[in-house]
Amino acid sequence: MTRVHVMHANSNRDQKVAGVSELDLRIKSNEPVNGEYRKLVLDAPVELLERCHAGQFFHLLCPHIGGEAPYLRRPMSIYGFYPELGELHFLYKVTGEGTRALGFLEEGGTLNVLGPLGKPFAIEANWNHLVLLARGVGLATLAPLALEARRLNKRMTVICSARSPELLMSVDYFKDLGARVITVTDSEGTSATSNLETIIEGLIADDGVDAFYTCGSNRMLKLLQQLGRRHDVPGQIALEQQMACGLGMCYCCVRPFQKNDKVVQLRVCREGPVFDIQEAMTW
């Protein structure tokens, strides 16, 4: 099996040319997407964008404005990277001090970013039908994977989950990339695990599924682990953990993983944020 796009930023330790950049990027726009999310678009050099891969993240130095004074950087998945346009996109949810501060950023200002960081999603050459399962801001992480899959001419089914239909995001984005999109919501009562199981079992029966991709949610992880074991479908999950350095130095971002019958602590920023779905541990 040949893996594509698993070019870990750190793969070549001897290279004197640094694989991770720390840069002040100009803000092109920073608009609300719906009540809870905002999209941040930065002007970025092509050279940087060409080193980006789906699943990787940047570590953002959130500004001290609007009375907010976040200290540590904040990790944020690459939502989109467009070397053609010279643009780097993030999709974020305003939750605390750091993301509130991001919310104050204005066109023309700058933001200091560190990246690209972490291990990206991998798409094996012989995987043809990919199933992406995303909820909320998890979409941010899976969006560039869909773009990648499209470039590689893969078939895709994207299951988007949200609290209510109004909060569904990026449905058109995925459709435009040629994906089949299935939406489920809490308010319509379609997002329960049992229903998801039925849907995915259906996909496997109809079409065959070569790989699962998801992020963050414990409930979805459990479901995909079961389905994966049942049908021998591999998968990858992007995980989150609080970070200080983002580079692998501080060991604050570890999570437990199951590796050959042993539980090991791996760094989300370095060995992740993308991990094998069967090795990830539910919590």
């Binding site: 580079l247 604050c252 570890v254």
Partner: protein, 314 residues
């Protein structure tokens, strides 16, 4: 050209800027050429495998941070086989930080890591001594002296003793380390602290307590660096809250011969490189030819005496 080199107990550093243990690793090579630094200081290792503390392992507190990483360690074997060789590709001297739960275990590890490619050993005596009452060696002069004696016998390499701010007896501990055989003092580690989340009523750190680092502790560790430089005749390496060249100059003026930069690297991973550049610019602008001419130049004649008897603020 200004001269940035300093000499730490026989070890010549091309500049006085190095990373603090636990805030640096091979991974930083992704960001800049590590040969720009004055020295490489590794994360503290222990003899055997250790998992480290439960998560969350860090939190923010008003412009600084707490950590309770613990000392996750892959053990000395892994370290010698993998980490030491990595740094041998660099010309910069490698300083290995070690720790142990008992003085004997500590000494055994000290001799084990005294290998080619290691230029000095930083002994993290700010860690708990489980043989006594669980207090860190460096809290008391007596336990400092005892552990340093054993460590001294275990190696011929320069020994840097890393002190803790969690003591009321800094000058005495510094003298005890010197008498026990330390070649230099690293001043200092983090300050024992706590934060809680009032919504969940839970501690913000999985380990309940953790160490405060970053700008908040600079006035404390700067005071300690000053006390240690006065109390002993060995070089002091300042550490705590450094994020600008001005911070470095303060440490040098109070008597430190070099400094370590910790948390600031998390905020700005290239900060050590900028500080080295800024230090050159500062010396040039001030017409000072060598950074060594800054060391201990604080003007304190009138007040110096007073400090001898001052161990607690009023």
């Amino acid at each position: 050209m200004v001269d940035l080199s300093v000499n730490i107990a026989g070890l010549k550093l091309k500049n006085p800027i190095m990373p603090a243990s636990g805030t640096f690793s091979e991974d930083l090579a992704d960001v800049f050429d590590l040969d720009k630094l004055g020295a490489h200081v590794t994360k503290t290792i222990t003899k055997g495998w250790r998992d480290g503390n439960p998560t969350p392992r860090v939190c923010e507190v008003g412009g600084s941070m707490l950590n309770s990483i613990g000392i996750p360690s892959k053990g000395s074997r892994y370290f010698l086989d993998n980490v030491v060789p990595f740094y041998q590709a660099y010309k910069t001297p490698l300083v290995v930080s070690i720790s142990g739960n008992t003085a004997d275990e500590f000494a055994a590890l000290c001799s084990e890591v005294s290998v080619d490619g290691v230029e000095a050993i930083e002994v993290n005596i700010s860690c708990p001594n489980i043989e006594e009452d669980g207090k860190a060696f460096a809290i008391r002069p007596s336990s400092t002296y005892e552990v340093m004696r054993k460590l001294r016998k275990a190696t011929k390499l320069p020994l840097w003793a890393k002190l803790t701010p969690n003591t009321g007896e800094t000058p005495d501990v510094a003298r005890a380390a010197e008498e026990g055989g330390a070649d230099a003092l690293v001043v200092a580690n983090t300050v024992l602290s706590m934060a809680i989340d009032i919504r969940s009523r839970r501690p913000k750190l999985g380990n309940l307590l953790g160490g405060l680092s970053g700008p908040s502790i600079k006035p404390i560790t700067l005071r300690m660096a000053y006390q240690c430089a006065k109390a002993t005749n060995i070089p002091v390496i300042g550490c705590g809250g450094i994020s600008t060249v001005e911070d470095v100059i303060e440490y040098l003026m109070v008597g430190a011969s070099a400094v370590q930069v910790g948390t600031a690297t998390f905020i700005n991973p290239t900060v050590m490189v900028s500080i080295i550049d800024d230090l050159k610019k500062y010396l040039t602008a001030e017409g000072i030819s060598s950074v060594r001419d800054l060391i201990g130049t604080i003007i304190d004649e009138e007040q110096e005496d007073r400090v001898v008897f001052m161990e607690a603020a009023p």
